[in-house]
């Protein structure tokens, strides 16, 4: 009985929980209340960051259903990839709110549907991601599925992929 009391007495007093992020000076990122996006480190904005020269004329923009169609394709590509066991891990760790916006802008800009691209260039946006060739093929399949769902003709799909394919060297890092 005495021993038990002593053991109880020796229990340390309950301490308030430690906020380790604060202790270590880790800045917690807060989503912008208006856009819902996490802040990113500053970079120089330019349409050149989109990584391809846009199509001339309006045929491709029309074939893709204008900005509305392109937005659905970009968002769907992100959603399919988030749910794709082959590559979901890579997407989970990043801000999908922002990616849906910037990927739409990139597609819209390249398809000459009247957008500027405000995101980062392809090399810096993918540099720490460890993307492999296999992952790129998975993403391409998801983009193809999204385009198919929108009823984009196969030749037009390929023409668009032809603008993205040369970026592989900036995206695949291992």
């Amino acid at each position: 009985m005495f021993l038990l009391a002593a053991a109880l007495l020796m229990q340390p007093a309950a301490e308030p929980p430690v906020d380790w992020d604060k202790e270590f000076g880790v800045e917690e990122k807060v989503r912008d209340p208006a856009t819902g996006e996490l802040p990113v480190d500053p970079y120089v904005q330019s349409n050149r960051n989109a990584g391809a020269t846009p199509f001339a004329g309006t045929a491709m923009a029309t074939a893709f259903g204008g900005q509305d169609g392109i937005r659905r394709i970009a968002h769907r590509t992100v959603e399919l990839s988030e749910a794709d066991p082959r590559i979901a891990e890579i997407f989970k760790a990043h801000d999908m709110v922002r990616l849906k916006r910037t990927l739409f802008e990139q597609f819209c800009h390249i398809l000459n549907a009247g957008c500027d691209y405000s995101g980062r260039d392809m090399a810096s946006s993918h540099k720490d991601m460890g993307v492999r060739m296999r992952d790129l093929n998975a993403l391409v399949e998801n983009l193809q599925a999204a385009m198919r769902e929108e009823g984009i003709g196969f030749a037009a799909q390929n023409r668009f992929l032809g603008k993205l394919a040369p970026m592989s060297g900036d995206v695949v890092t291992r």
Binding site: F24, G25, A88, K92, M129, G130, M133, D135, N137, G169
Partner: protein, 293 residues
């Protein structure tokens, strides 16, 4: 908490957070290639377009996996029946090793040539291909995938080959291929240079007593991609014409390939193989099934 140790720990934890988040660990047989970008087996067992060898690497693996494929091909001609069966392994989308067996049924011609009715000429082909540069789909749109290959062919009926005037029962071809999918046009283009002594790909042996040098030949393919699964195309393959007793013609074909599933592709073609062993106008049907992982 402004202590050096804690700063170090904080820096380390940040560094950890920034290391690559790997995707799911890929299995060895990764099956990650885009559909049809492994080509279809040629009659010589290499990956390509049916008659022409391409710079593609067999199997569906990408740069860190191993791919496997197997094929069976039947060519039905007016006077002959030709069969090719084989297997191939693709390593890291860099090296292709393949083996094929060709059986060439001479049917009635066998009687005419004094071999006996239905005499079958056989040949083994051991091949290796190395991708030197480029990618069929990705990277610089003007840089094709370029591969070099060797095909060592061993005719199993060397006495027959010598009887028709061939110098050898075995021989080695060297190929250099360039392949690119021009996405802007949905068109795949291949060009291959082949150094060869083979008479009718080797079924009638290699070289002749009077002319025993490797000849430079050309193989060209153009294909249009209708969908992720379907492609149609045409091929041309020039051939040497070494044997005195039988003319040998260039080949061409029109083909359609369809990926029934991610692992099974069927190819049907109309082929014109010209004159074979004095029997002209060997035009007929080509049917091939390929499984690939």
């Amino acid at each position: 908490m402004d202590q050096p140790l804690f700063r170090l720990l904080a820096a380390l934890s940040l560094a950890c957070a920034a290391t690559p988040v790997a995707a799911e660990e890929a299995p060895l047989i990764d099956g990650g290639k885009l559909l049809l970008t492994n080509g279809v087996a040629t009659i010589e067992g290499t990956s390509g377009g049916g008659l022409a060898t391409w710079s593609t690497i067999a199997g569906r693996a990408t740069d860190r996996g191993i791919g496997l494929s197997g094929h069976i091909t039947l060519i039905e001609l007016p006077d002959y029946g030709w069969q090719s069966r084989g297997v191939a392994i693709g390593i890291a989308n860099r090296i292709e090793l393949s083996y094929a067996r060709q059986n060439f049924d001479t049917r009635e011609v066998g009687t005419a040539l004094g071999l006996g009715r239905g005499y079958v000429l056989n040949q083994d082909i051991f091949a290796a291909k190395l991708r030197l540069a480029g990618d069929t789909v990705y990277g610089n749109a003007l840089l094709p995938q370029i591969s070099v290959g060797v095909e060592h062919k061993r005719n199993r009926d060397a006495p027959v080959a010598r009887a028709v005037g061939a110098a050898h029962g075995s021989g080695t071809d060297i190929t250099l291929s360039a392949t690119k999918l021009l996405l802007s046009h949905s068109v795949l283009v291949n060009a291959t240079a082949r150094l060869t002594k083979a008479n009718q790909t080797g079924l009638l042996g290699f070289g002749t007593a009077s002319d025993d040098t490797h000849r430079l030949q050309f193989e060209g393919s153009v294909a249009y991609q209708l969908s992720r699964r379907a492609v149609i195309g045409a091929e041309f393959r020039s051939k040497p014409d070494n044997l005195a007793i039988a003319r040998e013609d260039d080949w061409w074909d029109l083909f359609a390939a369809y990926a029934l599933t991610d692992h099974l592709t069927v190819t049907a073609a109309y082929v014109d193989l010209g004159s074979i062993a004095t029997f002209d106008q060997q035009r007929g049907g080509f049917l091939s099934a390929q499984i690939a992982f």
